[in-house]
Symmetry: D2
Subunit: 140 residues, 4 copies
């Protein structure tokens, strides 16, 4: 099975750094979302295409491990990798590395569930998502 992943390069914003001089830990959640959206854009399964196909995919759990801090002025690479699963969920693992030297900054994972546009939990994967998985050979 092929590995599906996408990454993007970003720079730390001044407003993202806290009074310890490092990126405030909560801001990494935005970076992971950016990586997930880079994935969505690359593979045709971003937020807007989900809504067009009649579903939302809110985050239901998230894990973050902070290995090394980023500081203002740093550039970094945020990567999202798709993790196939059987249940009606969407899973990603993440890695953030410092661009200058590849230092591991953060690793993590997230799980998304599916809601229809009336916000009801979908017990089965949305049709468009099931089709997408098949197209990319991601059925287990």
């Amino acid at each position: 099975m092929e590995t599906l992943k996408a990454s993007l390069r970003m720079a730390v914003r001044f407003s993202e750094v806290d009074s310890m001089g490092i990126v405030w830990h909560g801001n990494y959640v935005k970076y992971l979302e950016d990586a997930r959206e880079a994935f969505g854009n690359k593979y045709g399964i971003g937020y807007l295409s989900m809504v067009e196909n009649g579903y939302f995919a809110p985050i239901v759990s998230m894990e973050l491990k902070y290995h090394n801090p980023l500081v203002y002025g740093d550039e970094f690479i945020a990567e999202a990798e798709y993790v196939p699963c059987v249940s009606a969920k969407m899973k990603f693992t993440y890695r953030i590395t410092r661009a200058s030297d590849g230092l591991l900054v953060l690793s993590g994972s997230s799980v998304q569930a599916f809601l229809d546009l009336d916000r009801n939990l979908m017990l089965h994967s949305p049709e468009a998502y099931a089709k997408w998985k098949k197209e990319y050979g991601m059925n287990l």
Copy 2:
């Protein structure tokens, strides 16, 4: 004409402080919104009641003057005062003061226009807003 105003007391969040050790200047926009919503809740003209009455009131201009910084640990009072005007706009002035000693931290103002729920600019004030102004004696 009576003066309509509302205020609320808040504490600086750790995540709101920048690497200079002071509240990052962009975070005051949230504090002003909190004051405006305190006003909305007090006088029955908050965001949710606007939507129920068929309109939005997005910010179309804003001015901020930063007099003294807040630091982590500070408590402060954010106050919004309604400024009556003839045009189909909603205006507020703001003052943020440090709770411990009343030091002036920020003064500012904002103007909101009215959109219907299809996002079209309303050239006349929404009916519910015109009624609200009359009820509070705010017609010029």
Copy 3:
């Protein structure tokens, strides 16, 4: 052993709600920090007292489970509970519940390590922290 915990009541800010109409998942990290700081203020071990005692305690890992969403207008209770541990770490578990009915919104946990003021990892707990643990009977 006594359980040490602290909580605070907050309201969802307009700026914290995303285009799905619910609190954006990354904003809960701020709420957990607010609960942790409420704990710090209650038990004399907040961010500022740490710095005064010569150490920082950055987050090194975090887990979040999203059970139910909060929407604009909701009030909620964020609670942090201290989890004693043997290693040179500081652990908390969290619960966020909706104020109106006690609905469970989020559960989670975090781990903090200790750095001296030169940002070197401390392999043993800072003296002030060890003393604090002893004072509250939190040594395992």
Copy 4:
């Protein structure tokens, strides 16, 4: 006198969009800061070089005019232009335009004062800044 300006292209983040489906008005403050830092990087007068030269330049006033909204999925250009002035201040004007069609989204301005590293207001421009102005022919 030459005009000094810098711009950068960015995309709207999901977390920056509010429940009206448009970029929350406070987030533009970050975009302006990004443009100002792009300017600083281009002309050698960014935040880090200021600190190295012994001063800070916090924002003391800001004006924002919102012409048209950005939505999720939009790309945009944020531009900062330096405005020479006689006093010990640093002024910029800004324009944000939608990348797809050049639609004007926001115009604004900011003023920064100078503080030494002890946070005392500097009544005269820092030496390094005066030198920078001269180098770029920006003395009035």
